[in-house]
Symmetry: C2
Subunit: 404 residues, 2 copies
Amino acid sequence: MIKLIEKTILTNPQILESCFKSWDKLFDKKESGFLESPKRENLWHQSKKRAQEIESFENLCIVGIGGSSLGAQVLQEIFENEKTVTFFDNVDPLSFNKKLQKIQGQKNHWVIISKSGGTLETLAQFQALLAQRKINPPLSEFVTVISELKDNPLTLWAQKYQVPILELPQDIGGRFSVLTPVGLFPAAFMGASLEDLKLGALWALQQKELVCEVAAQSLMSFDRKESITLFWTYSDQLRNFSFWIQQLWAESLAKKKTRSGLEGPFVSTPLPCRGTQDQHSLLQQVVEGQRDKFVLFFRVEQAEKSGPAVFVDPYLGPDFLSNCKMGDVLRAEAEAVQQTLASLGVESLSIKVDNLKEKQVGALFMFMELVVGVMGEALNINTYDQPGVESGKIRAQEILRGMK
Amino acid sequence: MIKLIEKTILTNPQILESCFKSWDKLFDKKESGFLESPKRENLWHQSKKRAQEIESFENLCIVGIGGSSLGAQVLQEIFENEKTVTFFDNVDPLSFNKKLQKIQGQKNHWVIISKSGGTLETLAQFQALLAQRKINPPLSEFVTVISELKDNPLTLWAQKYQVPILELPQDIGGRFSVLTPVGLFPAAFMGASLEDLKLGALWALQQKELVCEVAAQSLMSFDRKESITLFWTYSDQLRNFSFWIQQLWAESLAKKKTRSGLEGPFVSTPLPCRGTQDQHSLLQQVVEGQRDKFVLFFRVEQAEKSGPAVFVDPYLGPDFLSNCKMGDVLRAEAEAVQQTLASLGVESLSIKVDNLKEKQVGALFMFMELVVGVMGEALNINTYDQPGVESGKIRAQEILRGMK
C-alpha cells in the first residue's frame, strides 16, 4: 500500500535499532492515544451517525484552525464531490466575508471544532457568525460541535443549546486527531468510506520496519545538520497533505528541552513542495543553494500510469512525447529530479502509494504520525505539546485587553 | 501605499549603501526589462483588447507552469468574481481530469503560456487537450497564446492556426513577467483595472529608499547565516503572493557561481507562511527550533480595521473579545507574534499595504521584483537565469526517450 521505493543512502544500523526501541516505547505511552483511534468504535460510529443525520445539507462549513482544520482539508482535496466543504481557518475579515458571500443560498451545516473549547480564532469567528445570524435556528439542526468532553466554553455552550457534540478524546492531540471526528465526520459527509480509512490506519500500525526506516533516515539528516526537510508530493491531490505534515513535523519535533531537561535536539524545518510545478520554483534553490536539505518524495502509482494520451502535433513536439501518456511525463520528471539531486549529493527518500483511495489515505495519515511519534521518542522529547506558541497567545490577549 | 512599519534591528549603513549602488546598476542592465514593463504601452493595450474580444466567456483556463502561472494565481485570489480562472499547472492526470470535469458545460477560453514556446509540461497538457478535443473550433476564438515573438513551437503553431499571440518580451524573465500579458490578460478578463495596476508599479519604481532598506535587511540575514526567510502574510488573499515570492526568490538568488566565476553567495530558502493559521503550525518551529530564520511580515491595513463585530456570548467568551472587531484580533495576533519573536532574538521586518486594490497589488509585485533585483546586483550574481533546473530537464527527456 505504501512502499519505500528508493533511498539514496544506506540506513545507519545503530539509528535504525534506536528507532525500533522507540517504536516499542511509543506504544507504552499514554499521551499517544492516536495509536488507539482505529480501535475506538465510538469515534467512528458517532461520526457516521451524525453525517447521516445531516445528509440533506449541501455544504459543510468547518470553523477551526491548525489541527482542527488541516486534516479535513486533505480529505476535501481528495474526496470532495457534489457535497462541498468550506473552511473558516483564519480571522481575516476580508476572506471571512468573501466566503460567506460564496456560500449564500446553499444549505450549510456548521461544525465548530476546538480541542480545548477555547481557541481564540475559532471562538471569534463563531461568535461573529452568531452575531450576524448567519446560522439558522434551531441550532441543534444546523450546528455540530467537536471538542473534548470537559467543562470548556464550547462544550458548555453546546450543552445549553442542545447542540450535538462529537468527542475529541483528551489523549489525542489536535495535530494527531484526523482519525477522530475532526476528520471522520467531514469524510463521512463527503461520502468517503470510514471502514476503508480505518483499514488503512490499521495496516500502517503493522509497518514497524517501514516506519522505523523512514524515521531513521530523517534522523540521519538531522545528524548531517540538514536544516530543511522537503515534503515533495508528485500529486496535486496531496498538496494539502504536505501542509498537514508540515504542522505535524513543526509542532511535534521542534522543542527547546528534552524530557530530561537538556537542550533540545537539532531538527529541521518542514517545507512543502509540489512537483512538477515546483521544479519551476524551488528546484533551482535545492540544486544551487545551500546543501542543507533532505527530500521526501511522495508519489502515486495510479497517477503515473494514467492517461490522457499526449498526442504530438508536428508543430508542437517534442518528438519524445509521441506514445506518451501524461502519467509517463509525471513519472519521468519525478525520477529525473530525484536522480539529479542524488548526483549532486542531496539525499532523498521516495515513497509510493498505489492510489488515493480511502485505504491509502488512512494509511498515509497513520504512517506519518507513527514516523513523527518514533522520531520524538528517539529524540527524547515531548512530541505532543507545543509550549512555543503559548507566549504569543498571552501577548495577543494583553494587546486585546489593552484596547478597552 | 507600501510602508515598512517595523524592523527589529538597525540597518547596517554599509550594506544599505551597497544596495543604493546596486539599484543604480540594476537600472543600467538590459536583462532587467521588467523595469520597463509599465512603460511598454503595447503590452497593456493588447492584453486589454484581447480581454474585450473574449468577454462573452465565463472561465479562463490557463495552461502554464511556474512563472507562466503563479502571478495570475495571485490575481485570481484577489480579483476573481463571476468570471473564474482555472489553472492547468502540472502534468498530474488525476487532477487534470478532475479539472476538466469541473469546467464542463462552462464557456471556456484557453490561454497557453510558455516564454520559450517549448515548455514540456505545458505542451504535454495542451496536446492532451487537443487530442481529446476539449477545445472547440475555431481555435482563433477559443485560444490565446502568450509567448516570445520568435520561431518557437508554440508561436509557429499559433501562426499556422491564426490563433492570436500576445507578446512576452524577450528581455523579461518568466518569474518577472506578471506585468506583461502573462498577468495583465487574466487581470483584464477578471475586470481588474490595468491602469491602476500600472500606477502601482510606477509608484514602486520611485521607492529607492524603501526597496534598498528591505534588500539590505535581507542581505544582513544572509550575513547572519540565517538559512530560511519566512514570508508571513497576515491576509488570506496574499496566500498565492507568498508562493509567487517563493519562486522569485528561490530561482533568482540561489546561484552556484557569481558573475565573476567565484563561489555563489550564501542565500536563504524562502518559506511561505500564513497567519493566524500558521501560528498553529510553523510558529512552534520558529520559537523553539533552530535560530536560523528571518521573517518578513506582510500586513493589510484594511483587513485589520474591518469587521464583523465579535459579539460575546457569556458562555463562550473570552471577555476581552467584547467590543472587538475581527480585524482587531488579526492585528493583535500579528503584533503579538512579531513581538514574541523579537523577544527571542528572531529578527523581522513588517510591511503594510493599505488595502488589496489594483494599485497596491501592482506596487507589491514591482516592489518585490526590485528587492530581489537589487539583492542580485549586490551579490554579483545573474538574477535572471536558472541553470540549476536544466540538468533535470535533460534527464527527464532521456527517461522519456528511453521508453520507446
